[in-house]
Symmetry: C2
Subunit: 302 residues, 2 copies
Amino acid sequence: MEFQPTPALIASGNEKAIARAISWVENQHPKAQDLLTQLSGNSVVVGVTGPPGAGKSSLVNALVLHWSALGKKTAIVAVDPSSPFNFGSLLGDRLRMPGLFLHENVYIRSVSARGSLGGLSTAIIEIIDVLKHAPFDFIVVETVGVGQSEIEIAGIADTTVVVSVPESGDDVQTLKSGIMEIADVFVVNKSDRDGAETFANHLRQLAHSTATDSWEKPVIGTVATSGQGIQELSDSIFKHSQIATKQQRYVQLQTEKVIKLIQREQLKKIPAEEIADLIRKELLETGTCNIHRIAQYYQRNT
Amino acid sequence: MEFQPTPALIASGNEKAIARAISWVENQHPKAQDLLTQLSGNSVVVGVTGPPGAGKSSLVNALVLHWSALGKKTAIVAVDPSSPFNFGSLLGDRLRMPGLFLHENVYIRSVSARGSLGGLSTAIIEIIDVLKHAPFDFIVVETVGVGQSEIEIAGIADTTVVVSVPESGDDVQTLKSGIMEIADVFVVNKSDRDGAETFANHLRQLAHSTATDSWEKPVIGTVATSGQGIQELSDSIFKHSQIATKQQRYVQLQTEKVIKLIQREQLKKIPAEEIADLIRKELLETGTCNIHRIAQYYQRNT
């Protein structure tokens, strides 16, 4: 009989049960949904995103080792958005830092975005809920900040950390134009480099101008390789996570997650192959194709 | 009685009918769906994307004036992704180049991503189909290449042009990591600047390594302000658009559009407010909330 990842086994930290439950979720095993309805947990979920080369992996490693020294357990979910993108850098970085793999307080799982029906985030929502039921204090979701993954992460994490580096001249501009809204904490990594202080101050001005009564986004200079700023980052994450679940936004994020889960099930019932055949036929016969007519037909008949 | 944008009026190029039909689509007017099922058209749909500052608007203006001189009509859809992002630059650029507004062969429509239930692309799919029915030879969809809009545009346009500039040192890296896959044509704009030739050659190597039997992505140096390279760009767009609709990928893209349209209608039926109330209640009573249980309930009951 197939090994069963029960809620009790997951809660005890059994690695085989955790790994199997995640596999169930990834492969949409028939028993995955029933398992998920039995889980609960209150780990702090930290999203870490930023452009390639900002040093996200080194920063996550430093943070996790810091927590581990305090006796805290962390699960790292490294999102490898292999489709439509192809970075591969997450696993590459990890291979250059094998220490974490063997560390007893750390569990690492790579997740491929490829092939997850219903998008990156639906599978990750479920994986995080498995890990929350396990005895982890922190769950770090690390994504490369290109494309939609960085927006999705903000909908999943309690606290989103945006990592950037001083030398990228465009960055304040880029941050202004979107990332600003998803960040709860800013990190200027490699902050021993030229221009770091000026860059951080620009960010602080932006952060100040968007501050609310309950939170002004802190801007923290770090040097991941030496550990500088890691304690301050850890404090900020913890402080933010404490207020995050009390905010109106939290209910909204949970609602959006429920809607995504419902949509994924609905998507399974849409006959994509049949629709493609219809389109192919109409294109062949008439040289054009009215997709609205086809959509309307299936809206009425599903 | 309310003015009716009929298919015949739209096909005749009546600006009021076109504008009204687009408003219907944007506001999900009750008659919008029926109108859309009566439309058809074979304009070339060109997506133009790239980072802020790459000169997309100038390039689009040069291209459109080039086509206009040949007697071709163009509609420009400027996507202003005001939420969750906030660029505002598209309209800014346009205001600095007011010439196009008055040009008889050019129609410009700004589209806000904000508030369009079901995402940016569903509304744009419909707007483009209105414009395709009107007598435009080309429809240019211009987006800022940050966030998910650049990925979505590749699913909507027949031909996607990715614009970059030589001075951005990260660009080859960035292009490697995703944009490469969505581009059909590369433009190195401001190609009179230092490093343009080296940068273009790097891109050509990448393009060559991903060439298929039917298409090797061309890399075209342009100087939008002087018109250099615009003829070559126009030729490449036309050449690509001729093969685009004949490819297997085209059927797949049309299928994805139909699925998006169906999903938007399904989304309307999900009682988001009721779900939020349930979540709020469960959080208050137990301090936690199992979203999978709630999702399962609504999957069974909708």
